[in-house]
Homo-oligomer: 326 residues x 2
């Protein structure tokens, strides 16, 4: 059967779904002066958004990546060209309007970022169903893992993530999900293979699925316990430098701490997911995949750019990461 | 002769050259917090840059406008579509790379704007000469006035404005020039028909062409005297609410004060130039053109958007503006 042949040929492929990508512009200025006019000494634009960051990092790690972004207009075309220019395969869905822009102002006085995230104009209702159908088509071409990361476009319903997870289940492809809010809550009904959250997101969603009596935010270990039944293989809650806590049907693990600290943590969570997906799609065991994930997140923080990393550095760090059953 | 026939048919056309346009994005936020993450409640994108603003305002005033922007890449294509969508004829030149973006953050706490102007990547040397040739072609189709407004792209030489003025002279089309810096200084050798500057630009260029002994910035009246030999028809120095001072071979005038004060002065200088060009291209006398210019600048300030105005309001205000020989 043709489909099976494709599937076995592309069985280690990582399909990275980016429902709400953006053009990320970063400006270097002397000093941010509210009310002032600034002429950035340096302006950079990159294809951005969490799903794109995951695709970039997984590609850097050597995975056979297909990025599936929902793009819009001329800005979307720029983004598709940008990814293709970096050698990343793109199967884009399209919606009317323009892909949003996000701005980061880098102020060297504080080394801080002042950020502006556009929400984007609402997409029409039929744009999302067409995107779901596209994702299904891509998965029929074969995939080892499908990642879904980041926010949904305005106008996509609360069941939009759930729909993507169903498409993946029909195709028999495990989903690695990194999302938040009401869309994530609905998607838990489909039990993704991996549920990857940061500590704040985990506390929020744990409170929604299992309200704690005192209403206090749970710590990562407690959150992971509240969420463990909602993932097939593992719930992973990242805690920055401290590493991650992980729970699944086969046990509980503590990962890390992260052995190196970089200056550029933006995108490290996405690189972590890319490491996990790359390793699991290649058939690695979960503990080995968690090491590569941690190495990729740490390597991301060593160089500028979200989802940019040196793969040799990521693997070197991965070899030093502790994964401890608890 | 075909060219003459075209020229007489399009003799009232206003050709608006935009050497360095931009996509202008404006964000409405609750409060600007340096180091913070902002999710603008409203984000708008418009075709921007001074030359584009002039084209928009002249089109609103009823002129037969052709915008001639130097565009780049996908962002440039968006800009061309945006202008065409507003019914403005576009003859675009193209350079490699991407049209720049400028960001304005609107903070309602102070009603102030915090702005970020990208300089854009340098254009290659041959892109400018191709643009000059395009401008010549457009002018051969007939024009009553050619405006040139705003900055030059990085990589265009100091003689870039001079080259455009020469092309216009060869086509017999009067130039209205609103520029600054070393590019303007070089262009003065071609004596534009109208030299339109604000008070700060006039003081700067007056000092360059005729250094004052004490080095103090000249007031607008003194600057206009220092510059009067560098324009065929008039040097016009705008002074915001106070109006303008004007000098030419036929006399000296004081224009204004502006009878109304609007909340949106961004682009009023461009609307002023649009009013001047629209009236002079239609064959009006200079005093009448200065009234429409002042009315257009004031009407621009009454509504949001740079180069947006209500033409009836502009003409109503124009009728009340005093133009006084001095």
């Amino acid at each position: 059967m043709a489909v099976s042949a494709h599937r076995s040929a592309n069985g280690a492929r990582v399909v990275c779904v980016a429902p709400n990508p953006s053009i990320d512009r970063t400006y270097d200025i002397d000093r941010l002066i509210p009310g002032g006019i600034h002429r950035p000494a340096r302006a950079r634009a990159v294809a951005g958004g969490k799903g794109i960051n995951v695709a970039r990092a997984a590609h850097a790690l050597g995975a056979d990546v297909v990025a599936v972004p929902l793009l819009r207009g001329h800005a979307g075309q720029w983004l598709a060209d940008e990814l293709a220019g970096h050698g990343i395969a793109v199967r884009a869905g399209w919606a009317p309007g323009e892909t949003r822009t996000c701005i980061s102002i880098h102020d060297p006085m504080t080394d801080g970022l002042t950020e502006f995230y556009e929400s984007g104009d609402p997409i029409p209702a039929d744009a999302w169903s067409a995107f779901e159908a596209l994702v299904g088509e891509v998965l029929e071409g074969g995939a080892g893992v499908m990642t879904i990361s980041g926010s949904l476009p305005t106008g996509a319903g609360d069941d939009a993530l759930l729909g993507l997870c169903r498409v993946a289940r029909q195709a028999g492809v495990p989903v690695h999900l990194d999302a938040h809010g009401s869309g994530l809550l609905a998607a838990l009904a489909e039990r993704p293979s991996i549920l990857k959250l940061n500590a704040a997101e985990a506390a929020e969603i744990a409170q929604l699925v299992d309200p704690a009596g005192d209403g206090q935010p749970r710590d990562p270990s407690a959150a992971v316990e509240a969420l463990v039944t909602f993932a097939d293989r593992a719930v992973v809650v990242t805690r920055g430098r401290e590493g991650a806590v992980v729970a699944g049907p086969d046990g509980r693990w503590r990962v890390g701490p992260v052995p190196v600290e970089g200056r550029y943590p933006v995108g490290s969570g996405d690189a972590f997911l890319a490491g996990l997906a790359t390793a699991l799609a290649a058939g690695d065991e979960l503990d080995r995949a968690l090491r590569l994930a941690t190495g990729a997140g740490a390597a991301n923080a060593l160089v500028p750019g979200a989802g940019e990393l040196d793969p040799a550095e990521a693997r070197r760090i991965a070899d030093t990461v502790a994964v401890t059953p608890v």
